[in-house]
Symmetry: C2
Subunit: 232 residues, 2 copies
DNA sequence: TAGTGGTCTAGACCACAGC
DNA sequence: CTGTGGTCTAGACCACTAG
C-alpha cells in the first residue's frame, strides 16, 4: 500500500508547512523520483488528499495546498472518531447508558434479526470538558463481542480498529437539523427547542456488513462540518 | 473521457433497475469486454459511482448496488443545483433581491478586491411550490458577467454551465445548524428561533478561481443531506 | 513552447470471499 | 481453488496554464 503511506507522508509535510513557500505540492515527476514509485502511486496518494480537501488540483498548473481556516471543523469524510478530529483538544465521554439486549425494533435499521444481540450505548461527548454532542449508538454483538463502560469512556473507534482488529469499509451519513427535547437540551447546556445538527451514521465493515448505526446530536453553536467535493 | 461516459451509462442502468436481480454490477472483465476499454476506464467509472454512494465495493466479492431509501435526500457531493436533485419534482425560485454592486466587505470571503463587481442574489427556493430554503449568493462579475431576474428564477447553475460555458472545478461546504430570525422564519413558514440547516458554499472554477460563495438556510423538516465515505 | 496534471493502454501480482 | 476487486509498473498521448 505504497500510495496510502505516501499520502500520510505528504499530509504530514503539508501540516508542517513545508509547502507554504510555493503553495503547491512538488510535481508528479518530482514525487516519483523522490519516492521511487510510479505515477500511479503518486496520483493515488494525491487523490486521497484531494478527497480530504487538503489539496486542490489545477490542470496545467499544479496541486495547490489549501490552508483555509477549517480549524475546529469536523471533516464529514474523516470517520475516525471525534478524538482524531481535534488533535490539540481533550475529547472525553460520559456514558449515559450502556446495555446489551436483543435488537427488537432496531432490527430493520441494523439489517439483522430481531433476536440478534446488540450493545446499545448513549454517551455525552465532551470537548475540552464542555458538552459537544449526544451520541446514541448500536453495535452488533456479532462483530463487537464486548463493550464496557471503561471502553465507552474513551474512543470506541480506536477499540474497534486497534483491539478488535475490525476492518472498516465505508459509512454513509444522513445530516439534518432538529429541535432538542428537554433531556437533550439539559445535557448540552441548551434550552428545549434549540437547534441541533443531527448526523445519522451507518458504518460497514470492508466485507460489506453493517456493524454499527448511530445518531449524534451536535451542539449547534459548536459543531461545524466540512466537505470538499470535486465537481468534475 | 471514456470513464465518465461509462459511469453515466452504468448509473442509468442502475436507476433503471437492471442490476436488481444480482444486486451487483458486472465484474470488471465483463465491463472491459462489453465496452471495449481497459481496466483503468472501468475502475475509474466505478470509482465515480462509489463516491456518489450508488455502489459499494467488496474486495473478492463484487461491486454491490446500493438501493437504500435515499429518496428526497440531497447528496452533499452532487453540486449540480437543487433542480437536478429532485428529478420528479418542481423546483422553482422566488427572487427576493438581485443587485450588482462592489464587493466591499465581502471581498475577504470572495478572495477579491473590495472594488470588484459582484452580483448579490437572495432567493427563496421552492420544492413543489412549498418553501424549502433561503439562499444568499454572491457571484463575481468577472466570471458571471450577466444575471437578471429571469435567469435567477430558474437554475443559475445550468445558466453558468450551459450558457456561460464556465467549467466548474470543485466546491467546499460548511454545514451547521442555526436559529432562524423572524424574516427567515416567515419566508419558510416557520417560527423565529426554529432550527435551520445552514450550508455555506464556496465554488471554484477548474482553474482554481473562486467565483461564487453562498449561504443556504434549509427548512429543517424538509432537507436531509446524504454523504457516503470510503473509510479505507 | 515547456511543463503541468488528465486520460488511457497492457500487462503483472496481491488480498480477499466463497465454494 | 477460482474469481473477485486492490495495488502496482511502464509506458503513451491529450488538455491546460503560464511564460
Amino acid at each position: 500500500m505504497k500510495y496510502r503511506e505516501l499520502a500520510k507522508i505528504l499530509k504530514m509535510e503539508i501540516e508542517r508547512g513545508e509547502y507554504r513557500a510555493t503553495g503547491k505540492l512538488p510535481t508528479e515527476p518530482e514525487l516519483m523520483e523522490r519516492f521511487g514509485v510510479t505515477r500511479y502511486c503518486v496520483r493515488n496518494a494525491i487523490a486521497l488528499l484531494v478527497n480530504l480537501g487538503d489539496v486542490c488540483p489545477v490542470q496545467g498548473s499544479g496541486m495547490f495546498v489549501r490552508e483555509d481556516d477549517r480549524d475546529g471543523c469536523l471533516n464529514i469524510n474523516n470517520t475516525r472518531g471525534l478524538t482524531s478530529e481535534f488533535p490539540g483538544h481533550a475529547v472525553s465521554s460520559k456514558v449515559i447508558k450502556l446495555e446489551q439486549r436483543e435488537a427488537g425494533g432496531d432490527a430493520g435499521r441494523l439489517k439483522c434479526d430481531p433476536g440478534d444481540d446488540v450493545y446499545s450505548i448513549s454517551r455525552l461527548r465532551l470537548l475540552d470538558g464542555e458538552p459537544f454532542a449526544i451520541e446514541y449508538a448500536l453495535y452488533l454483538k456479532e462483530f463487537v463481542p464486548y463493550l464496557n463502560e471503561e471502553i465507552a469512556d474513551g474512543s470506541i473507534y480506536s477499540y474497534i480498529r486497534r483491539d478488535l482488529k475490525l476492518v472498516t469499509g465505508f459509512a454513509d451519513k444522513l445530516m439534518y437539523a432538529r429541535k432538542l427535547d428537554r433531556g437533550q437540551a439539559d445535557l448540552l447546556g441548551l434550552s428545549a427547542g434549540d437547534p441541533a445538527l443531527v448526523v445519522e451514521d451507518h458504518a460497514y465493515l470492508s466485507n460489506g456488513r453493517l456493524f454499527n448505526v448511530g445518531t449524534v446530536y451536535y451542539h449547534y453553536e459548536k459543531a461545524t462540518f466540512f466537505n470538499f467535493a470535486d465537481l468534475k
